[in-house]
Symmetry: C2
Subunit: 364 residues, 2 copies
């Protein structure tokens, strides 16, 4: 057992999910993540929690979807019943082949997502954590050797989270009382949105590990401008690349993608909320110093901003504010490392990837 | 995909469990059984059923048990809730290392079994099927090459079950109206039991695949005599070998084992019912022509009889008859190939492994 996997498990169980004796825990993982699963089981045994283990097997999901009629998808009532009795969910990423479901027709993926919606909502009512185990396939996606990729993942995950949380709090304090945020990068991205009355949050490990962002939800109708997303993202086993979106009155009125535009279109067409922004996130985990083609890491990188079309975030939207509802929540990343700035109520708070409260920030 | 795995899956889904559109299905399997899982997913998709997949990972179970306090085991309420909504369960054997949990202290295994009891009872209320996928480790346990072992498994499983069922019905017809059964093998086994009023059943694939036995439940207080079990069995990650039991008034009054006697003792001590017989089974699957150290197969071999201490079988015990209740059901095998006979109400019905209704049976 790699001692780093054990430390990862301890952080997940204690810092992220605060697991207590008697907690009912569900772990979802691929066979490639076996080491982390074993470490989690050990940590959960020490705390007297009760785990059960779901096997993520994209090869089986693909075979199933190809054989299934789209109209036969219905909610798995046994999975739903289990979720209603579950206190903690660990979703462990890191599979064998990220493209395993790339040839599943989109109407089946959509039918599957819709049927899964009540279970997803149930999961959001638990203490859930998404994480990644470093696998060979993850290293390949990152274009790194496996040992170097392991080092990268554990540097981002196994850190002093109290210290990191204090660092992020500085950005949360700026974002929380703010009214308007403007994001500019190169010639292709200049977008403005209201965050007036929304609550900014500190992502220090409640639901993502690695954590490392300040985030809020935009006012749904307020988004105006154009965004070019520099980094690819995976959706339904497909890589979508070079996405541009144009917003008017908060809605996507024009879109394009350099690769897999049809998949993007199908996601934007899921429901009304899928064409509006649900999240603005600002990456702040400085251990993440390169892109690795994994949204969970890329979006936490200090030199990035991400926007998600689809569902807003509960804790960011007070009851008297409009909540953007959707079955979709798709994060997309803007590279802010060069020729870029974030403006909050007219003041620049980050320039070329450096925050106002960091060394090297230039007032101009 | 091995075409034989696909045929195995079709038999499980249609012949064994009669899966219908909308059925909620649970599959429990190790990663070594991936091919059968994928084939099952494909077959379930074709029929419009809704599967979920539990990952059997003995390495994690072991780490958990070693870390856990025995008194903290409680029923997994999320697993129980799922089971209550489940129509069909496929338990797929065939792991990496059958001895993975051999160093878990028995009080923890016992605590785990007790906590699991309500879920086990729930499972018995579904259409459940136990089967095995041929793995390298299974081949090693059988002392065979992997291709030869695959051939063996698929010969036993992928057969004409209507024909096999008719063959077995001949023994069921003898056993069902019977009052007394006597089993004699060599010098060490001579045991008599009443099956008066019990219902004999035809195992043609409802719950086991491979199927292949005629079985009933003995009257609990009626068992008298001595049995030596020739074949080893696995329990809680331990191999128990060379078991002898002595019965008086139905109860085990003396026992011994040549290997792991302490494990045997702990099982017999689980509860009162664990010291009485719950099942008499007569193997009849002629494709199983050698021992492979796997109870699911060994007990179906034409030249064997098996007896189980512990829980009786629901469908064999009419309501007005005494049902032997227990958390245990442990099958043990007597080799009947030489110097052996089965007597039913004073008539020999099998001698040296050959049934009265087969060629080669000698009236003596």
């Amino acid at each position: 057992m790699d001692e780093r996997a054990r430390q990862h498990a301890e952080i997940l169980v204690d810092h992220c999910a605060d697991v207590q004796q008697g907690d009912m825990v569900e772990i979802q993982a691929s066979k490639q993540a076996e080491d982390l699963v074993v470490a989690l089981y050990e940590a959960l045994g020490e705390r007297g929690a009760r785990p059960s283990l779901s096997w993520s097997l994209p090869r089986a999901s693909r075979a199933y979807a190809l054989a299934m009629d789209a109209e036969d998808y219905e909610t798995k009532t046994h999975d739903l019943a289990a979720m209603e009795e579950t206190d903690v969910v660990f979703l462990v990423g890191g599979a064998g082949n990220a493209f395993e479901t790339s040839d599943v027709p989109s109407e089946k993926s959509q039918a599957g997502s819709r049927a899964h919606q009540p279970i997803l909502e149930g999961r959001l009512g638990t203490r859930w954590v998404i994480t990644t185990h470093p696998t060979e396939a993850g290293a390949q996606k990152a274009e790194m050797s496996t040992p170097a990729y392991e080092e990268f993942v554990y540097d981002a995950v196994n850190k002093d989270w109290a210290e990191q949380s204090a660092f992020q709090a500085q950005m949360v304090e700026i974002l929380d009382p703010a009214e308007e945020v403007r994001i500019v990068s190169g010639d292709a991205t200049d977008v403005t949105m209201s965050v007036d009355g929304m609550t900014a949050c500190n992502d220090d490990g409640d639901h993502n590990m690695p954590a490392g962002e300040a985030f809020t939800s935009p006012v749904p109708d307020s988004v105006e401008g154009e965004v070019y997303f520099d980094l690819p993202l995976m959706r339904r086993g497909n890589e979508i690349e070079g996405v541009s979106l144009t917003f008017e009155d908060g809605e996507v009125v024009d879109y394009a993608a350099e690769k897999n535009e049809a998949v993007l279109a199908s996601i934007l067409d899921t429901d009304d909320g899928a064409r509006r922004l649900g999240e603005l996130g600002i990456g702040m985990n400085r251990a993440i110093d390169q892109f690795t083609n994994n949204m969970l890491f890329d979006e936490k990188m200090g030199d990035t901003v991400h926007l998600a079309v689809g569902a807003a975030i509960d804790e960011c939207v007070p009851e008297d504010r409009e909540f953007n509802d959707s079955a979709v929540h798709m994060d997309m990343i803007v590279d802010m490392s060069e020729d870029s700035f974030i403006e909050v109520d007219g003041d620049v708070v980050q320039r070329d990837g450096t925050f106002r409260f960091e060394d090297g920030f230039e007032e101009r």
